[in-house]
Symmetry: C2
Subunit: 310 residues, 2 copies
């Protein structure tokens, strides 16, 4: 039986874990904030995709170190935040054959883990899912529910195929990609622009950000900077990507980005993973990104302002 | 007797008008929002510099057109806002010998008036004053109280000297400058950077904006862009200006810029006068200002967001 440990089992981790458990995997979770209720009752999941159900993990841990047997897969679903040493966090549960699966936002988020665990296979995944926590142990799945998964730095593997089969069987559409880093860059074209722009000025929704020809042209120029960085890093973006992203953003009702939601709720924002790493890649490759640099400087001030106000 | 009409007599106009009236000038005001109380009782002014006193204008008008005799000086103290035709606003009271005095923020704010009144002398003034409206007809003067005044586009004149003498006699220190456009650019180095940066992220005070070496370096780069535009426009900035501005900003307690205060209070912001005109001058002179362009694009989105929310 496949053993899986989900570290940082918030809404995404619980939802995805429940899908894997349905396929018979032995799914344990590390869950700090909602430990009491989850260890007693499991997760109460409301989901149009998987149905409303209760997910009782095979084991619930407060700390990674409580997991005494290294799992086949360690799935990391914590936010990538400055000052959080993810390698140290997972180390106690990583065995020599544990496959480390990163289901997290951002670009260049794998290198740190790859350097810390050079012998372990690493899978990198991009979740497309709208899911939140509506109370202790309560998971509210609102929309989508897909995963793009690939071996890091590229290619696939039997371990990736096996995990994808579990996800697909459990109801989460999982697409394997040979080029997961390129997929991350592609996602960053949207994320590294709309996200930081959305947290300036109270919080701006997508309709305001695309509200005028001038603001749309500005966002296009910002996206072109991300594309230039991606190309310099060896991942040229598809032609028409920017046009498509702006078109699809316009096509759906106005909404607030994940960073805007974090900002509003006083939660930590993934500025470094999403934008900081993009800017650092630009500097490394000698690509000028004045708009992204400006957004980055502003986002850091905003983050500091939130922290000092709280 | 010198006749003076103050158009847009809010806090600055009332305070400065009261100083001129003390010297025996016949000061009338156009005051729309507080008309009732001001026409009945005048202004109630609390000022450490001029003393607490009541200022009863020689006449109080609701509209410029009610002023039937063109004044010697027409002092415009309204905000410079997009969509407000200041030339049309003052035209009914401008006679052939009326000196038009612009006490307003921003760069390139005189050209529109000069084009509309090619025969009239124009004086341009930069107020350094902390003063606000604490209630209808109530003026609360908190700090400073100086004016930099010069003939537009440059030089001085007997009319400028006469007005400066009235201000100085009335308690408002007025310094004449031969290079008022250069003085506006110098002020813009601070205003076109700290102001728009301060309205991102809820509102940021000066301590947050200068809170880290990175944020300070960012503000320096933004200021360098303004200096490059000023130089291209024919107004090279003094060496060490940026260093001095940052040093003096650091030396006083953290505070919120005028734009941040307007933003917080839902009042119109002088984005075009302060930043838009700087960006347009940069484009005209072929100077690259990617940071200012980014700030401008963000400020316009923020402005639109405030407008749509209200």
């Amino acid at each position: 039986m496949t053993s899986i440990l989900i570290v940082g089992a918030g809404a995404v981790g619980a939802l995805f874990g429940s899908a894997l458990a349905r396929q018979g995997a032995q799914v344990a979770v590390v869950c700090r904030s909602d430990y009491d209720v989850v260890s007693r009752e499991g997760y109460d999941i409301v989901s149009p995709l998987l149905g409303n159900h209760r997910f009782r993990p095979h084991a619930v841990f407060r700390e990674v170190a409580e997991c005494k047997t290294p799992p086949d897969y360690l799935v990391l679903t914590v936010k990538v935040l400055e000052g959080v040493d993810r390698a140290a966090l997972i180390r106690p549960a990583v065995g020599p054959r544990t496959v480390i699966v990163l289901i997290e936002n951002g670009v260049d988020i794998e290198a740190e883990i790859a350097a810390a665990f050079p012998e372990n296979e690493i899978l990198s995944g991009l979740a497309l899912v709208g899911v939140g926590r509506s109370g202790p142990g309560q998971v509210n799945h609102q929309s989508l529910g897909q995963l793009n998964l690939g071996r890091y730095p590229n290619g696939s593997s039997p371990a990736a195929e096996h995990l994808a089969a579990l996800f697909n069987g459990g109801g989460i559409g999982c697409r394997l990609t040979d080029n997961v880093v390129g997929a991350r860059w592609q996602k960053a074209v949207w994320n590294a622009t709309f996200n930081p722009i959305s947290i300036t000025g109270g919080t701006l929704d997508t309709a305001i950000m695309l509200g005028t020809p001038e603001s749309t042209a500005f966002i296009q120029r910002a996206m072109e900077e991300v594309c230039a960085v991606a190309a310099a890093a060896g991942y040229p973006m598809p032609p028409k990507l920017i046009e498509q992203l702006i078109g699809s953003t316009r096509a759906i009702p106005p909404y607030h980005t994940s960073m805007a939601q974090d900002y509003r709720n006083g939660r930590p924002m993934e500025i470094e993973a999403i934008l900081g790493n993009t800017v650092r890649a630009a500097r490394r490759h000698g690509v000028g990104t004045p708009i992204l640099e400006t957004l980055y400087a502003l986002a850091k001030m905003i983050e500091r302002n939130v922290r000092e106000a709280s």
